[in-house]
Symmetry: C2
Subunit: 410 residues, 2 copies
């Protein structure tokens, strides 16, 4: 801690960690603020910072270093907790059937398109399943961040997108389980699929039912007992526990964190909690987006075959999700906003593709094509969303006074 005599490795590790974190945070904020200046979402700048710091250019950030993965994971857990805190469960349930329709079509169509494209291109067997599965993902983190930055989280379209993205994540858990079984040569029984499905959705329902009764008195107790400054950290602590619980029960950490946010949202202390959590998030959340950016090795894109397959996957990815926006035909609202909101694959898509590589189904070129699709959709969605949402009458963005003016400048 204090000295570096006789070169103890820990100190040098910590000091290089601090340098890497400083580079990640510094470049993320610089490019993020720059993007806002030119009328783009800050998240684009943060992703770009990751691409620059990652293996593609400066090679300063090793995205597979477990400590950076940990910081990134804490970032996305805090982000989803924040988003949950801003979400009104009743409002979301009102658009529940629309969200469900979007999620289902947004899984089926991209999967079918990816499967068909893989067959048409004559790719190796089983790649069709993995590519299809990769196309089904939705990165709730990216979309939620953009909507939050634009001050549009409370729009009905945003509620549909968020609901659909969460359902999509849950479906994603099931698909990956099934596809991994098939790829491993195992047998997929109806029973196992049903069990997976019930676990995944059961967690949210159980958490909302049980937590809905438990959380308000606990928060009241904490607020009365502790210092006001302690409350956000205590709430974050509980969010971590719910996230781990979700993970252990076969759901995902980000689903748990989002659910925890939903539970705290109706309490009178929600605003106070949110204010503190957002400040901690200013540190951790950009680390997540930089990490996602660093996961992409842009050097592989030079290969023409990668460009071809990647281009086709991008087309399938965009078309498949945009179509899903029209799935709830009975629902009145801006369907294009919903479809575009579902486009980004982000880290979830990369996890699917990585699983494909680990199982030996995707080779390096096919992985690069997937990464290209992930990167394109992740960068495209915030740009399109910002265009679509700022074209309408301008609800003022929540974050800071300056950006309404910046938006209008575009």
């Amino acid at each position: 801690m204090l000295l570096d005599l006789g070169a103890p490795p820990d100190v040098s590790e910590v000091s290089s960690l601090l340098l890497v974190l400083a580079a990640m945070l510094g470049l993320a904020k610089l490019l993020g603020d720059l993007c806002e200046r030119v009328g783009q979402a800050a998240v684009i700048g943060e992703l770009l910072a990751g691409v620059l710091l990652g293996p593609s250019v400066f090679r300063l950030v090793d995205p597979h270093a477990s400590i950076l993965e940990a910081f990134s994971e804490i970032g996305v857990v805090i982000l989803l907790f924040q988003i949950g805190l801003e979400t009104d469960l009743r409002k979301m349930l009102k658009v529940g059937s629309a969200a469900f329709a979007v999620a289902m079509v947004g899984v089926l169509v991209p999967f079918s398109l990816g499967y068909a494209a893989s067959r048409a291109l004559g790719l190796p067997p089983l790649a069709d399943l993995v590519l299809g599965a990769t196309l089904t993902a939705t990165s709730v983190g990216i979309t939620a961040r953009v909507l939050s930055d634009l001050g549009r989280l409370q729009d009905p379209e945003s509620q549909v997108v968020l609901g659909a993205a969460v359902i999509d994540d849950v479906i994603g858990l099931i698909i990956l389980a099934v596809v991994s079984d098939v790829v491993a040569g195992g047998e997929v029984t109806m029973g196992s699929v049903v069990r997976n499905t019930l676990t995944a959705f059961g967690f949210i329902i159980a958490a909302v039912l049980v937590g809905g009764r438990l959380v308000p008195p606990v928060v009241r107790l904490l607020a009365r007992y502790g210092k006001p400054a302690s409350l956000p950290v205590m709430a974050l602590t509980l969010a971590f526990i719910v996230a781990v619980l979700a993970d252990q029960l076969g759901s995902a950490m980000i689903i748990g964190a989002f659910t925890a946010g939903l539970l705290f949202a109706p309490t009178p202390q929600a605003h106070q909690i949110q204010e503190g959590v957002v400040r901690v998030g200013y540190f951790f959340v950009p680390l997540f987006f930089v990490h996602v950016g660093a996961l992409v090795d842009a050097r592989a894109f030079a290969d023409p075959r990668v460009l071809l397959v990647g281009g086709i996957l991008i087309a399938c990815a965009v078309v498949g999700k945009v179509v899903a926006g029209w799935a709830p035909f009975w629902w009145k609202g801006r369907k294009l906003v919903i479809g575009v909101g579902m486009i980004p694959r982000g880290e979830v898509g990369l996890i699917f593709a990585t699983a494909g590589v680990t199982k030996g189904v995707l080779d390096d070129k096919l992985f690069a094509a997937c990464a290209m699709m992930v990167m394109a959709t992740t960068f495209l969605a915030p740009i399109l969303l910002k265009q679509l949402l700022s074209r309408r009458e301008g609800a003022p963005p929540q974050d800071e006074p300056g950006s309404a003016e910046l938006v209008s400048r575009v």
Copy 2:
């Protein structure tokens, strides 16, 4: 990130990390707030949380896990940056000669007492040097935190204590270098001691001279260019870089972080930066104190010989530093406050003792005695300081409205 199929070790690592962090933060805040309720410093509760979670009781926190060391280190870096931000360099230089006298006497007397005690007890050769060196340490982190919690950072006594503690840390770097050389059988030349000394003090002086010109325009630029919310994180980024620079140049990270705080303190944006950094600190700083608590294995204290040597070391530790309060005989102020403020050895003392174990000079029993001394001084100082400082006329604590009332209740 999303899935745990085929048991990827990273996810399970991240989820157990989140659980451990939740336990550390949750218990730290619970016990910290409890301590404040009964009129004690919150840091006592956080240290106690560490002792409970560490190897002594629940064994949930392994203080030697490198990722927890990293979180702890980030915590103390943020804390010292915060303290630096609240420090007026000119005010501190005004009491510079007093601080220097306190630091020198506070190194010489405890070292001599420890050396003599070791000789008198007939401890193994070289142990006298290491025990003496361990007694010279001062934990600027513990003292600064207590003074900050009590809202007394601006008192002249606090300025002397902080100045002396920082000088002490710098002297500590030199002593450890020298003692390690002697223990390793190496020769200590006057030249190497002088070089170490110049490096250690040179860093602060150079940083203040160069940084004093560089920082204000950089901060002005960042404040004009970026979003207001980005500024604290950008400042923290720069603090990380200065901390690593200090470490690389042979000084210590916490010295670098404190110096960075000094540099930002006179800028017009200092308050805005501090507000954001304090919120991030609510997350990281308790992790540092819990980690320090977890470094102590209280089970070893059961041995009567450990108790005897530990008791003698505690006496040397307290007497040696309290005496130092009277070193600046020309200075008018509460000398007992200064002496007591210098008592806590905290993590710095443990680093010295750990180096002694690594070099084979201290056995397990002697290390346990040192740990006992560290723990006793670390717990004692906040309790005594709180007593001493709340006895006088009550300057309102800075942190939250409730605690003035809590103090008066004692």
